[in-house]
Structures are given as structure tokens and as C-alpha cells.
Amino acid sequence: MAQTTIEVGAEQTMTHGAPHRRVINIQPITRIEGHARIAITLDEQGNVADTRFNIMSLRGFEKFIEGKPAEEVPKIVNRICGICPWMHHTASNKAVDGCFNAQVPPTGWKLRELMQVMAQINDKILHFFFLAAPDFVLGAGADYKVRNVLGIVQAAPELATQVVKMRQMGQMMIEKFAGKVIHPIVVVPGGFAKPMREDERQEMLAKSREQLEFARFCIDFAKKNIFANLDEATLKLGEIRTGFLGTVKPEDGSLTLFDGVLRLMKPDGSYQDFTYQQYVDFLGEHIEDWSYCKFPYARTWNEGFSMDLKQPKGIYRVNTLARLNVCDRINTPYAQAELEEFRARFGRPAQSTMLYHWARLIELVYACERVIELLEDETITDPHVRNEVTPQAGRGIGCVEAPRGTLIHDYSTDDNGCISRANLIVGTTHNVAPMNMSIRAAADAVIHKGVITEEALNKVEMAVRCYDP
């Protein structure tokens, strides 16, 4: 195991109540999910001395699922995130399958992927238009009362109505078929709780084609109206140099959100592939005294952990940009064309943090295409969707690519099939160290000589929002 070094910064960060240093609190960080704050400490000249990204709460899912019947757990852990409950729900079911040695029928597997990828569509629309776009459409320096989705409704009512309608259609498609769209229950150990009828398949297919049309409109709109107008400073905002982690299909290295092998890429573009079961050999979690959240790092690189901007150690990123960097190709035509254009322009691996948004829209196109592929396969209506499972002692590791990154659920069960031990690494956690670094880079770029403006602080937050935490 690597000897971990800690080189977070030479100076002790002053926080609440420090009398002799100016500390700027961005609290709460907004248009993200959850509770976090940024503290920027200034030196005597009013330049940035240190920055910290504090994760302010801890709920403890790994602890409180202990003792619970494993088949109930996929319905508990979806509450880790109300934006991406389908990701936890599917990864958790894969882990319980592993514990119980369950054999999932092919159609159960297809329905799981269908739901998991459909949920990604709505998530990406939500993030881009509701959370991120206000900074670009209304301007990073616009009044905060206007710089939000309500401001977009005022400024571009037709676009806003279309976005709301398409997201709503996507949410209701899932809810109508699966019962619940937020905190789902329909994926079960051994497969899926209900088959799909032919009329349901036809209806979903028609709507999915509308979604693809909309996704292609979105990326064209963003390329023309947002990405084309990004100045060099904004493109460089929060830029850092790291490795990347994502999931690819083992047979051809192509992008997958649902199932495959993990690929860990170094900043120089070289990479190693490994199975879910090997994750403990490749990844570690570092702890800092000032964050409840842990800091995953690439243990396998044997270089320890450091968030130093000039010489980071063990730092890799996940989420949209990471997935597009690690994959060799995308096996759907429109998304592949977008990837080729993206790669020709920004190289592989692309490091600019702002490109997370662009990559997100390419994945939106992929997700729509993949859903159509799954629904065009008529065997998806096969009624055999679940095999009975037997509670037993075992261990299972289930992974999916969540919108926010690689999601790992690792469970062990006792003889009654109840959870004896759980280890989770969730998407956003992988990006905690990179977010710390991007905050520092952005703060250095926008804060000089003690001049603090609302726009400058919002730009620091924009670096965080790229990661969609």
C-alpha cells in the first residue's frame, strides 16, 4: 500500500473567528445539491492565501444499512441522492445480486439499463438548464435575484417552456412505467419487478425519439449561444491537470453508463482497466480534518495524495468529462460525431474544467440514442424479468456511472442475507479533491489585492458547478 503524504498547503487555514486574516465565506454554495461552503483566506496583500471546500454534513448510510435485509437496501440507499436515486438503486441491486449469487434474466438486465439511462436524460437537462445555464445565459455578474432559472423563464420564456416540458415528459415516462421516478422501487435483487407491455414500449419509443430531437437541439443551441462565446479566461476557469476514471465496455473500450470495466487514466493519457472487484486495489480514501467527506485518490499510482496545484498526487476526476476522456469511442452515431468534433478541438484527455458542460450535453445525446436502441429491441417485452433469490452470506460489488461519476456499492451479507458491512464511494466524492483544486485555481484568477465582488465569487462557484456536485 502506498505511503500517503499530506501536502495541502503550508499554512493553517483561518476559519470562523480568525481576527487577523480576511476570510471570505461563500455559504451556502448554491445551485448544487447539498451542504458545502467555500472559505477563501486572503494574505496581507489581499491575494489568495488558501481556499477550502468544506462538506458540512454526514448522514452515515454505510453504518445504518448494517443489519438490514439486503433486499430492502436498494430502496434505502436511493435516498443518498434525490437527483440520482436510480443510480444508487441500480448499483445497490447489482451488489445484492452479488451477495445472493443471483442470476438476472436478460430482460431484467435490459429494463434496468433502460431506466438508469432514461434517468440520466432528465438529470442532464436539469443540471444544464436549471443549475448551470443562468451563469452563461444571464451572465456571471448578473444580479443574483435574476441569475437563476426563474430569470431564464423571464428572459427566454419559449426556451424555458420547452425545457420544462421535455424534462417533465421524461420524468413522467419513468413514473408511469416504474411507479416512482424519485426514489424508485422497481429494480429488485434477481431482476426487475414488472415486465414491459408492447403498448408501453411503443409509447416510450415515440417519446424517446422526441427526446433525441430535443437533445440535438440542446447541443446545437449550446455550441452556438454559449460555448462559442466563452472567452479564454472563462474556458480556463478552475482548470487543473488530473487523471480520469470512468466505465467502458470491455470488448471495445466504448462509453457505457450502465455496466463494463473501470478505466483509470493518468494525466498523460495512459490507462489501466480493472474489474469492479478490484476497486480496493486501485482506489483509496484520504481524510482531511476540515471536511466530513473523504477524498478518494488513485492508490495504485503509489504517489500518495496531494492537492498541490503544481504537483498534484493521486488526483483523478470523474463525471462527464472523465467518461469522454477515458472512452475510445461512443457506439451511437450522433454522440460519436459530437465526440470526434470535441476531441479534434480539445484533445484527449481534455483538462479544461468548463468542458464538463459540453461533455454533459454529448452524453445527453448518447443517453437518448441508447434508450432508443434498448426500446427498439422487441425482446425487452419478454415477461421473464426476475429470478427468485435466496438470502445467504456473500459479498457483492455493484457499480454504475452516475451523472456525477463512478458509483461503487460494496456489500457483505451474513447467513440471513442481512448487511454485515458496506463500503460506498459515490460519484461526487471522487471529485472532492479536484473541486478543492479548481476552487483554488479559480480564486487565484479572480481575486487580487483585496477586491471582492459578487461576480468574482460567483465565478469561483462556477468552477464548482462544472462538476455538478
Binding site: 445551485r31 468544506n54 448494517e66 435516498r79 415486465p195 481524510i287 433469490v389 463500503n423
Partner: protein
């Protein structure tokens, strides 16, 4: 004049906020009548001034008529935010089961904080074991996870994990019209269309390890009650309404899955565990067939109902 609204999330997952957005076009219709003054998920209003140098001992939330709070209270920061919201708002809505009954995160109430920290910071294969983070900037955990009304006064309870958008819309409309919202008060069973024979042949419950018996080409109303099929359905002891105003069936049942109990007890003060064991026992069902009983309180473990193991024996 639009009604001023403030919104906050505490020990929660953001699912309730997504449920608000799932009002969809209804949301677009009510928006002109609302003025959001504080809502971290969508708007950049900050606690300590927009340039971050305000008094850190005073959380600034603008005055509002309506305050919506999701999530329970688990740490000092949640508590301070809840108190600031109560001071700033005339009416407080506890939105979602975490706020009304603790919700899933209150499952942690079965353990002491030290047991959680040992597990999280010193008990996993991937973690480089360290002392529990203790920088003063981190809000201290309270001894357990609390429902909102254990710490501040609540005016309207709107449970659900998440609540159905129909009831969120009804509550907002009622407040705009100056009347009390009409919210569902029956049990899930009372709103469930499945076929119940009431013959009482059930002697034990089975774990949900194979799918229910039903014809997928037929509607839920032609499926036999899942509890009578021997599946662990929480319908009898759970507040109904998850299907919204015009839904075909309770949402889990629509997925052909037993009710998980996510709207909490039928009565605000009810106890899902005791009510369920009573219901089973009075129908001669062997309650030993339930593999783990605290799971019955997985949505309603606040208000002192779930406690650390050592304390439970006393």
C-alpha cells in the same frame, strides 16, 4: 402582490426539491404568484452577505410569508438554519418525511455518533484511517437525527418520500387563496384498488425475494392484495396520497412492489412499527416472520422511536 417564499434543505437528499420541480407546467403557472427570496438549490442568496464578509454568527434569511423546509435536523448548522427560517417566515411547511418524521436518515438513531465515526473514518478497506474530522468550521453532529417539530414549531405537515407534486401544488394554492390545504389523511390500503378477500388465511410474511403473482396485461385493480399474498406491504400503517389526486394506485403497488411506508404513519403521532405488529398479531400472523423489525421504522425513526442498541435494552 406575489407571496414571498423561502426554502431550505437540511438533513436530506434533494428529492423533495426535485418533486417541487416535477410540478412541471403547473409550476410555471404558479410562479408569477410567488417571489422566492431564498432557495439554495436554485438561487444564489447567501447566509453571510453576497460578498461573504457578513457576521458569521447571524444567518441572514429574508422575511417571507411561507417557509418550506425539507430534511430533518442532524447537526448544529441544520439547527441554526431551522431557527433562522422560523424567525423569518410566518408559516413553516415541513415538506417530506425527513422533515415530518426523520425519514431514512433517522435510521442512524440506532447508533451513537462514535460508532458512526469509527465505521466511516476508521472502518473501511479503502480508507486511510484517521481521527474524526474536528475542525471547528464543521458543524458538530447532534446526538441524533430529529424531525423538524422536535426543534421548531411546524404549521403544516406534508409527508412523503418524496411528497406527490399534486399535494405540494395544493398546499401552495391553498396558501395563495388563504385557506387550509386539503391533504390526504387515509391509509395507503384505503386508497389501494387491489383485490382483498379478507379471508385471513395468512400465517406468516415472506421476504420480497420473488415477484408478486399478477397478470401484467391487466391493471393493478385486478391484482390480489400484496399483503394477502404474504408480501411485507406497509400499506395498512402508512399515510396514503402517494398516487396524487388522480393516480391509478399507490406508487409502489403500481410497480407491483409492496408499499415501503414512505409517507410515514397514518396519524402524525402514529408508530408504524407498533401499528404493524398489532395489525399482524390481531390477524394471527406470526410476527417472528419479519426478519428485522427496525426496518418498519425506516421512515419514522425520529421522535425518539429509534434508539442506540445499548439504550434500547433499558
Amino acid at each position: 402582490m406575489p407571496v414571498k417564499v423561502a426554502e431550505e434543505w437540511l438533513n436530506s437528499c434533494s428529492g423533495c426539491e426535485i418533486a417541487i420541480l416535477n410540478l412541471g407546467e403547473t409550476l410555471l403557472e404558479v410562479l408569477p404568484h410567488l417571489e422566492f427570496v431564498h432557495i439554495p438549490v436554485l438561487m444564489d442568496h447567501k447566509y453571510f452577505g453576497q460578498t461573504g464578509e457578513g457576521d458569521i454568527h447571524h444567518i441572514d434569511i429574508p422575511k417571507a410569508t411561507v417557509g418550506i423546509i425539507t430534511g430533518g435536523i442532524r447537526n448544529q448548522e441544520h439547527l441554526e438554519i431551522a431557527e433562522a427560517m422560523r424567525q423569518a417566515c410566518d408559516v413553516i411547511i415541513a415538506l417530506g418525511t425527513c422533515a415530518t418524521h426523520g425519514g431514512i436518515p433517522a435510521l442512524i438513531n440506532q447508533w451513537r455518533n462514535e460508532e458512526l465515526f469509527d465505521r466511516y473514518y476508521r472502518g473501511s478497506e479503502t480508507t486511510d484511517a484517521q481521527a474524526t474530522p474536528s475542525d471547528p468550521v464543521l458543524p458538530a453532529c447532534l446526538d441524533r437525527s430529529y424531525a423538524l417539530d422536535e426543534k421548531i414549531k411546524v404549521d403544516i405537515y406534508l409527508p412523503g418520500c418524496p411528497p406527490h407534486p399534486d399535494w405540494i401544488g395544493e398546499t401552495i394554492l391553498a396558501l395563495l387563496e388563504g385557506r387550509a390545504p386539503q391533504l390526504p389523511m387515509k391509509s395507503v390500503c384505503d386508497t389501494c384498488p387491489t383485490i382483498k378477500t379478507g379471508k385471513g388465511n395468512l400465517r406468516h410474511l415472506n421476504r420480497f425475494l420473488r415477484n408478486a403473482h399478477y397478470d401484467p396485461s391487466k391493471p393493478v385493480s385486478e391484482m390480489h392484495c400484496l399483503l394477502e399474498q404474504g408480501l411485507p406491504c406497509m400499506g395498512p400503517v402508512t399515510r396514503g396520497g402517494c398516487a396524487g389526486k388522480n393516480g391509478e394506485a399507490p406508487r409502489c403497488i403500481l410497480a407491483r412492489v409492496p408499499c415501503q411506508g414512505c409517507f410515514g404513519p397514518v396519524q402524525q403521532q402514529g408508530n408504524q412499527l407498533l401499528d404493524y405488529l398489532n395489525a399482524l398479531a390481531s390477524n394471527q400472523v406470526d410476527i417472528r416472520s419479519i426478519p428485522e423489525k427496525s426496518t418498519l421504522l425506516e421512515f419514522s425513526g425520529a421522535h425518539g422511536l429509534l434508539r442506540p442498541k445499548a439504550a434500547r435494552g433499558r
